[in-house]
Symmetry: C2
Subunit: 377 residues, 2 copies
């Protein structure tokens, strides 16, 4: 795995004319620019000095309260820590829970950014077998001895788009509780369901044994870099200490801006428009795949939410080798190999259906099929 | 040293009625609220989608270019990395340069936030003797074997307010170059000089052997959490990788907002107003100290810029013990012991002269003197 893959991929996608299924970039159409403009003006007018000053590491209290209130289990605002994107939550978890050589369990495949965030603390990453329903609980239990935690992304996973089933969640929580394995649950995409909400988070079932990471990047905008973590009270002082050392606090201005936008149930009106858009774009991509990949031994899944789907190339075709050829044809994706701690399946790739437009999706999948066809020839 | 001192202190200062010389909070009077309001509106109107989207880890290119342009030595924008406050620069330096047990050299005393940022990587902190002119270069050389770097804050240091002399800077750079000791130079306060700019930064004299950290917190506002680091090109890929893992990138919205405000030489007009205010407030505090501490064996220095001065209590009086008594009388400060890696001088304290108003400074120093008088009785 090359740890700079995401950064390099983001650079490729900035080339003019490239249709990118690579980055995990929300559709900019969904950004509520007018609501942000109004919120900026209000915050600077009514509370400008506090919004521009240093602040407590915990986060802006009304935002912590909002987070606690909207989660589907009993959470105190004192258990909420506002982070500089949910990515920072991974950094803080690593600093507090990992020592050099500590085993850390992850799904197969898993979010590359988590592996990168854990790396500075030099854990020993242990990949747990996973399938379309999520993590394999039997394999987990066999590998769990001495593990500091399990990192898991149950809803519309990055990179695979898969969702952990109700049965699997309950089995996982029962096992984690029984063997005393802490869970780090990452849920940046949970609100982006198409037809029905995913099953209840793991943390809601086992709050005393889990740390939960959430994000405003997918429901509002990533450019503000705001996320949050929810943790058992006993571990909050250590997380706060790590947070303070990392960047003192997340931007007070941005926290107030988001708290202002969130007032009066804004997300209840806004998020359904994102869901409808992404559902449609996913359908367009599935439709294009069906049409363009005809006759090719390419497989893919059908996510029920989120931003990504996962495809598998014909035998003998490596996604890493395919990428430059696809870019030559004007389309980019992330090779699946980037998301495995070890034992990568070289035929896999992640396709985002949310950044490109409907027309671009059709053109891009056609170009991708042409590249695959050439690679198979 | 209690690593949560700063956080707890910030909490005390939030109590209504407390006059705080504790926090390193810039005067909110200096925040250019109207310029920010105009910049927010412009950015969201002309470039809203990019400002709210994910972005490259390096930072917003026009802001990197601005940083490179205004530094007094030859810097390429490719050597600039925008950070989430300069505090994050310390976190990234720690991740890239420190291994468990690595010796790291610091001044005596030094910035507490740096010690906290280095801690997760478990360095062995080595305190180098320092005096009113800055770090003792002979002591440095004796202790430098195997050190990963020297962390140093030459201008209006936090916590002491002292400034490293021209002669000491040149001797330090000559020695560092000769023995191959990397320098991490932190310069958040350099623009806040009273009568004349401080001597040239260490990095300007030895750019290939130093990492330089700068901040927008003291010249614009800390609540945006924006700083930058300048590093030799060879180390940039590792710093970028650490940056990406930490929080992907600093808020794209804030970076564009600041770039917009900085256009047309805004700081050339704005910073002189901050300098004049802080110089006056420093004079008020020095004047109040002279008046109120009469007859007490209290010593203090006279900074030529920045936000802090450093005082030393009479023999037998501990600043840690004094703090709750001072808070009872309505005034807060930071005990100097918080800023020593080891061998703390318990009689020292840091006083900020920038957050409180002129009237509050007079009242607060009077209350502090009363607390000291009681402690001596």
């Amino acid at each position: 795995m090359n740890p700079s893959v995401i950064r390099e991929i983001l650079k490729v996608t900035e080339k003019p004319g490239i249709i990118s299924f690579a980055g995990g970039l929300p559709s900019p159409k969904t950004f509520p620019i007018e609501a942000f403009a109004a919120a900026c003006a209000t915050v600077l007018k009514t509370d400008g000095r506090a919004a521009l000053q240093y602040a407590a590491s915990e986060g802006y209290r009304p935002l912590c309260e909002w987070v606690a209130r909207q989660l589907p289990w009993d959470v105190s605002p004192d258990q909420v820590l506002i982070t500089t994107g949910s990515q920072q939550g991974l950094d803080l978890v690593a600093k507090v829970l990992i020592d050099e050589g500590s085993p850390v369990l992850v799904e197969t495949p898993t979010y590359l950014g988590a592996l990168q965030a854990f790396t500075p603390m030099e854990p020993s990453i242990v990949s747990v077998h996973s399938d379309a329903d999520g993590i394999d609980v039997n394999d987990l239990e066999q590998k769990a001895a001495g593990a500091r935690f399990l990192y898991v992304l149950p809803n519309f996973q990055n990179p695979t788009g898969r969702t952990m089933s109700e049965a699997r969640r309950q089995a996982l929580v029962d096992t984690a509780r029984r063997i005393g394995l802490p869970i780090v649950e990452d849920n940046p995409y949970g609100d982006l369901w198409f037809d029905q909400p995913p099953p209840l988070p793991l943390t809601a079932r086992h709050p005393e044994g889990a740390i939960y990471l959430g994000s405003f990047s997918k429901v509002l905008a990533p450019g503000l870099r705001l996320g949050y973590m929810v943790a058992p009270k006993a571990i909050m002082p250590k997380l706060l200490q790590a947070k303070q050392a990392a960047d003192l606090h997340s931007p007070s201005f941005n926290q107030r801006m988001v708290a202002e936008v969130l007032k009066d149930g804004f997300l209840d009106r806004h998020v359904p428009t994102i869901r409808a858009l992404y559902k449609h774009q996913c359908e367009v991509m599935l439709d294009a795949l069906k049409k363009e990949m005809a006759g090719l031994d390419v497989q893919w899944n059908s996510p029920v939410g989120g931003m990504f789907l996962w495809a598998r190339l014909p035998e003998g075709v490596s996604a890493v080798d395919l990428l430059p050829k696809a870019v030559d044809k004007g389309v980019a994706f992330v090779p699946g190999a980037a998301f495995y701690a070890d034992g990568a399946d070289p035929r896999t790739m992640r396709l985002s259906f949310v950044t490109a437009s409907e027309e671009q999706i059709r053109i891009g999948i056609k170009a991708l099929a042409a590249a695959i066809r050439e690679a198979c020839a």
